[in-house]
Symmetry: C2
Subunit: 403 residues, 2 copies
């Protein structure tokens, strides 16, 4: 297609929610209102499922106050879905899009969602249906290819860092071993972010395990013992995706449920934390061992939002509409970091296939040689994305001379 088409716009959200996914949605809607090419602005409920069922809402009917409030509200306001359309369903999708004269399709989500947009676009090309197809990035896992980082990650990382600040203090007050299981299917960025919680040299997390490094139960027990012997306590962060030498996630040994993208359920169960806890209790004979699995709080807790993350999430929504109305047929908006000392980013459009399906892992130099911590490089990378953290007070604690 050449130039930009006149027609209606359809926007939807897919995959796991985030704390700022509605910033992208509202950014796109606000920007769309500025472009005369775009007539009606439809929101599909529960992603591609809403298209198939023709469950659309009219986003031009939402006033400014509602849009502003929704932007600041966590979780996907249009509803979400985990669904990869079949070829037959794609055919049906175009038929519906044609019927509603939709020429602009925006899909907010992660790599699976980018894959969906890519499939829709490929199918549209096959039948010569002109459709601007754009993926707007979102994932708390921070595992999209091409991106320096992804919208949703900074706020989830802020939640994790805050949680570990509190949990470290809790463990300092009532000593023992504490294990926190953090989201992250294939990428350890979120687990790694727990390192931002540290202020004092003895602060936890004392050990951090990411899926990028082979998890050995023996090394884990040795590590915990060493920290516990030194400090009388130990705070451990483990990514839900930690895997053995065969690449098999430790958590999957307990749960085989999968979605239509073939992903096994790792979240929404305390099994991994309880397994690690059990190993420490029995093998190291430490009695006070606790495990918490942060679960969905990491992606939907209201009020704990990184300002940088919210602003960037808004920006990628705006950029996608700008690129589409400028006449580009397809793409995904990616975030690049400026190579300057002061933090800054710029946005680019890349082909959908560059972002679809595959995931990014943490660079090797973000993980310590022993595989049980992160490096200073990671801290420098992550700190500006998370922004300011709560102030933590601590006593000088001048000892009273024993009599």
């Amino acid at each position: 297609m050449a130039g930009s088409l006149k027609g209606n716009m359809l926007i939807a959200q897919s995959g796991g929610p985030s704390m700022v996914i509605n910033e992208s949605l509202v950014g796109a809607v606000m920007e769309a209102k500025k472009h005369r090419e775009i007539k009606n602005i439809y929101g599909s409920l529960h992603g591609i499922k809403g298209v198939l069922e023709e469950n659309l809402i009219d986003l031009r009917k939402e006033n400014k106050a509602t849009l502003d409030a929704v932007a600041k509200t966590p979780s996907s306001a249009l509803g979400s879905v985990r669904k990869k359309p079949t070829e037959e369903e794609c055919g049906k999708i175009f038929a519906i899009m044609q019927k509603y004269d939709i020429r602009y399709f925006f899909y907010i989500g992660g790599n699976d969602s980018a894959e969906t947009v890519h499939i829709v676009h490929e199918e549209a090309k096959k039948v010569n249906y002109d459709l601007h197809c754009f993926h707007i990035p979102k994932t708390i896992d921070n595992d999209l290819l091409e991106n320096d980082h992804t919208p949703g990650f900074g706020s989830a990382a802020k939640f994790v860092a805050c949680a570990l600040m509190g949990d470290n203090l809790d463990n300092r007050a009532l000593k023992g071993v504490k294990i926190d299981v953090i989201m992250g299917r294939h990428a350890g960025f979120l687990a790694a972010s727990s390192a931002l919680a540290r202020i004092y040299p003895d602060d936890g997390p004392h050990l951090i395990y990411c899926p990028e490094h082979v998890f050995s139960m023996k090394q884990f027990l040795d590590d915990v013992k060493q920290v516990y012997d030194r400090l009388g306590r130990c705070v451990v962060v483990a990514s839900e995706g930690i895997s053995d030498e065969y690449g098999i996630a430790i958590a999957t040994k307990f749960n085989k449920e999968t979605d239509s993208h073939g992903n096994v359920q790792l979240s929404g169960t305390g099994a991994l934390g309880d397994l690690l806890s059990h190993e420490i209790k029995t093998k190291l004979e430490i009695s006070r061992v606790r495990a918490d699995t942060f679960g969905y709080l990491q992606r939907s807790f209201p009020g704990v939002i990184s300002a940088v993350d919210a602003a960037e999430a808004r920006a990628v929504g705006i950029e996608a509409v700008k690129e589409a109305t400028a006449g580009h047929p397809e793409g995904s908006i990616v975030i690049r970091r400026r190579p300057s000392k002061k933090y800054g980013v710029f946005y680019e459009r890349v082909p959908l296939q560059n972002v679809a399906k595959n995931t990014r892992h943490m660079p090797e130099d973000y993980i310590s040689a022993a595989g049980n911590d992160v490096t200073e490089e990671f801290i420098e990378y992550a700190r500006p994305l998370v922004g300011a953290l709560p102030k933590i007070g601590r006593f000088k604690a001048v000892a009273v001379k024993k009599i």
Copy 2:
């Protein structure tokens, strides 16, 4: 003893941390500085354990900025302990207190901590050691006798309400059954507070189970099915302490670890959530069922603090020092609510034994007749303690006419 003694003061923290326990500590220290009867101000590290080991710190050496920062920091800044002193240890405690000329003893904690103060005071009386013994209330469980509510509860309840606001939105976006396991050994106040998350009629939590009502697995499954059939989703809140008809906590069937007060471990494991989740998956054949156990985040997450709770936590610390220096030998400070329409409280001193050991349960009229929800009476009770919650935006969602 008559009138107030001159001597040193010792303050310590005990039991589970809270988000505002340091407000009470700093309140007591700041107030103590105003009273000439009190010479040195010692903090004992890890409660009564620090006394036995003579691990004391000099709290007069902490400057105003540190005290202010510590007050706003969650978790027990002096460290905590779960320990009931034996009679022999009590003897040792007085010997140490005498050696350090301690005449004012303040212990911040829950019912177990009040019991400890009571034991210490009784033992002190036996050996004619004059010691002002005061308990300063703290418990996120809100289960202290005599109190309208306890410091720490409001902030933990705010965390729970915020978490459920987010989790309800998450469940609305990606439908299924979600179970959230909330702290509360014997009292369901914290689980009940999740009801404050509701704004719209279809908002979760849709079902709330407290330990005060016998938990029946059959009724639970019937309840979940009914909500799920109506809304296509269901958010369940279960207190960790829910018990069967024999008074046996469902969670204890998996874990037998106890502390020296005889309490079984209920927190720090995902077992209860996973059990309930398993029942729903297998008996109701609902595939997407997730369980999160909020764990220690509820008592130590920084930044999510109820302003009313923080102010009252500060006040009970101040009151305890005022009562002790006014010459009263022992007591616990309790919070009473004014019988006025506008929320307000006053503080009273009651004998230690009124608060020690036993716990308070939720009044019957706070739980719905079916035992799966709370009543409007509870909402009215809890709302002022929690204060303002995040604003949640929602689309009007005007449906597009199907073509």
